[in-house]
């Protein structure tokens, strides 16, 4: 067992160190990006500075340009840290230049979408389009009879109205879209709630299995009959609950009992096992993990479950960590 533990730990350590190194590499900024951003800003502001602009603004802009030159020089000399400093300085200056240029306009800070009067409702339409696309995917998932064709037509109309700059008409069309979307949303949620009940029951069943293991361990460890009695009563209440809200309520009560008697120690392990199970299920439908690796992972998971049921939490934990680390590599 010790040999296995050492081996598992070695894999774990090396994978974590390697993983950490990868993250560090990814987190580094590509210096050429900085130059692109800053030059784009410079070009835009240069275009906006005119004879009416104040001397202060013009001087600030020159200072910004100097910082860009220094940035380029630093990049040529491969002085990355210095380049980053010049980038931040240049951007700080350009921000000030932008503020100076707009000083004649309203200086009052306002939450953009709350107060700004945006004539063109393109953003509103785009937001609705994304939301409706989301609902379409869900409606398809539930095989609902919701017909989106009217909404699709309205989107086409609104887009055309915006192109033709008929913004008032577009706003009315978007208002119609919103109204229909609210109804569709309710309809889809109605479908979803019907299936939620069965999902809630399935979840309660899994929770009951976990609770059974907890009660069994509590008995083996010789915990007081009072605690065991409370857990068994809670178990009965949960098994008779059918409504999703009732299930949540009962589980919250069980969690409260567990916390009261410090029985939550192994919840984390149980949760992790469930999470790993789901990751494995997802990976089994992809080509990221070979069949042999998949079978090995499933066997390890069974071993972990066995250790858990036998109360060997340390061993289960170590195996679980190594398996989780291994599977992480194959996820997103």
């Amino acid at each position: 067992m010790k040999k296995i533990t050492s081996f598992v730990l070695l894999i774990l350590i090396s994978s974590m160190i390697l993983g950490g190194m990868t993250n560090t590499v990814q987190a580094q900024t590509d210096p050429s990006i900085l130059l692109k951003i800053v030059k784009h800003a410079q070009k835009q502001l240069e275009n906006q500075i005119n004879q009416d602009s104040s001397d202060k603004t013009k001087q600030l802009f020159k200072d910004g340009a100097q910082q860009i030159k220094a940035l380029e020089e630093s990049l040529r000399n491969n002085e990355i840290d210095l380049a980053k400093q010049h980038f931040l300085s240049a951007m700080r200056i350009f921000k000030e230049v932008s503020q100076q240029l707009s000083i004649n306009q309203s200086s009052q800070v306002e939450m953009a979408t709350l107060k700004a009067t945006v004539e063109d409702p393109s953003a509103d339409l785009l937001r609705m389009q994304n939301y409706v696309d989301n609902l379409k995917t869900i409606a398809k998932k539930y095989n609902t009879s919701v017909d989106f064709s009217e909404l699709d037509d309205l989107f086409v109309t609104a887009k055309k109205q915006i192109i033709d700059r008929q913004f008032d008409d577009a706003l009315q069309t978007i208002s119609k879209i919103k109204q229909i979307t609210v109804n569709f949303n309710n309809e889809i949620r109605e479908y979803a709630s019907q299936q939620e009940q069965s999902r809630a029951k399935e979840y309660a069943q899994k929770y009951l299995e976990q609770l059974d293991r907890l009660i069994e361990n509590a008995k083996n460890k010789g915990l007081s009959t009072d605690i065991i009695q409370k857990l068994e009563t809670a178990r009965e209440d949960l098994s008779s609950a059918t409504n999703p809200h009732e299930i949540i309520k009962q589980i919250r009560e069980i969690i409260s009992i567990k916390e009261q008697f410090e029985l939550t120690k192994n919840d984390r392990l149980e949760s992790r096992v469930m999470q790993i199970e789901k990751i494995l299920f997802k990976l089994s439908n992809s080509d990221k993990l070979s069949q042999t690796d998949l079978e090995d992972a499933k066997k390890t998971l069974q071993t972990i479950k066995r250790h858990l049921s036998q109360g060997e939490f340390e061993t289960a934990n170590e195996l679980l960590r190594s398996l989780a680390t291994l599977l992480e590599q194959f996820r997103d």
Partner: protein
């Protein structure tokens, strides 16, 4: 785990000369293993990655609209043993909230101020989408996006916006549909931007369109020269029937076109239905599309779409090229055997 050496069969080992013998065959192993395990446990405790813990954000993507509202899309790992999950929203002005659990099931939620209680019922991963109006403010013509992020994230800036101030260093930047997309790190970031006026691009190495424009101009000149020569020749050889030229042009057009979708589906009957939809979209899009466009169109997470694209590549239906650091998915002109 215990590094202490224990004399084995002590009574038997003490001989007449009073020497104490201990079993030595496990000493080396124990001496090496004990510190190793200890060091391992310490390193594990220190470097245990966040993503393996519960309620960790796997992805966080923000899209800023032109009116300053922001779309938030996030994938979060949650505790499958908990019946619900309390999500901290990034503000109180929330619209169009949708939470989806494992296998794409819609999850019920209750939003109270800047918190959402989502009934997860055993889901281990949830995807959340919503619009928020609290992240962008405006002073004069300068817009400010201010966000304290719990994880690394991406932000897609509005079209025609120009970043004129930024408080931190982005990890990466790419252009998606003429919009700037930044990769930023955990913590507070502030981005100031304005809506720019069209300017003549002078940073020639930045824009792929310069190459395209140049290619078009050069191509047009070459075409004009060739056209001129051909016309001169045609005048000289009037006997050439014009129909041949028309045919050769249409042949060229066919050559440049990719195969129609029905042919692809007939050749690849094993192709999944959802993959067929992707192929149809690419075909209707002129035979090519960015992977990001496909994700947007089919509302799929990055990994799912990547897998789909890889599947199609293996089937020999598409090829993947790079464009502005993005994956450009192109329908192949001729089908090849499965790799």
């Amino acid at each position: 785990m215990n590094p202490e050496l224990v004399p084995v069969h002590r009574e038997e080992s003490i001989r007449e000369d009073g020497m104490l013998f201990v079993r030595t065959d496990g000493i080396l192993e124990t001496m090496v293993k004990a510190p190793l395990i200890l060091a391992g446990l310490i390193i594990v405790a220190v470097v245990m990655p966040l993503q393996t813990s519960f309620s960790s954000t796997r992805t966080l993507e923000l899209v800023i609209y032109s009116d300053g509202s922001t779309h938030v899309s996030t994938q979060i790992d949650v505790d499958p043993l908990e019946p619900d999950f309390e999500l901290d929203l990034f503000g109180k002005s929330i619209d169009n909230f949708v939470a989806v659990g494992d296998a794409g099931f819609l999850l019920s939620e209750e939003i109270i101020e800047d918190k959402a209680i989502i009934d997860t019922f055993g889901s281990s991963s949830i995807i959340i989408d919503y619009d928020i109006h609290d992240l962008v403010s405006k002073e004069g013509r300068v817009w400010t996006f201010s966000f304290d992020s719990p994880s690394d994230y991406t932000v897609l800036m509005p079209k025609n916006s120009v970043i004129v101030g930024i408080s931190g260093l982005p990890n990466n930047m790419e252009i998606v549909d003429e919009q700037t997309k930044l990769n930023l790190t955990t913590g507070l970031s502030e981005i100031n931007y304005i809506f720019g006026t069209p300017i003549n691009p002078t940073i020639s190495d930045e824009s792929p369109f310069n190459y395209v424009n140049a290619a078009v101009i050069v191509g047009a000149i070459i075409a004009a020269v060739i056209g001129g020569i051909l016309m001169l020749k045609r005048k000289q050889q009037k006997s050439l029937p014009s129909i041949i030229q028309t045919e050769s042009i249409s042949e060229k057009q066919i050559e440049t076109k990719s195969i129609d979708t029905e042919t692809i589906f007939n050749f690849r009957p094993e192709m999944r239905e959802d993959d067929k939809e992707i192929v149809k979209f690419i075909s209707n899009n002129g035979g090519q599309a960015l992977e990001s466009e496909l994700r947007k169109k089919f509302l799929q997470p990055r990994t799912t779409m990547w897998r789909a694209v890889k599947r199609l590549e293996r089937l020999g239906v598409i090829e993947i090229a790079k464009k502005d650091l993005q994956n450009l998915v192109k329908l192949k002109k001729d089908l090849e055997e499965e790799k």
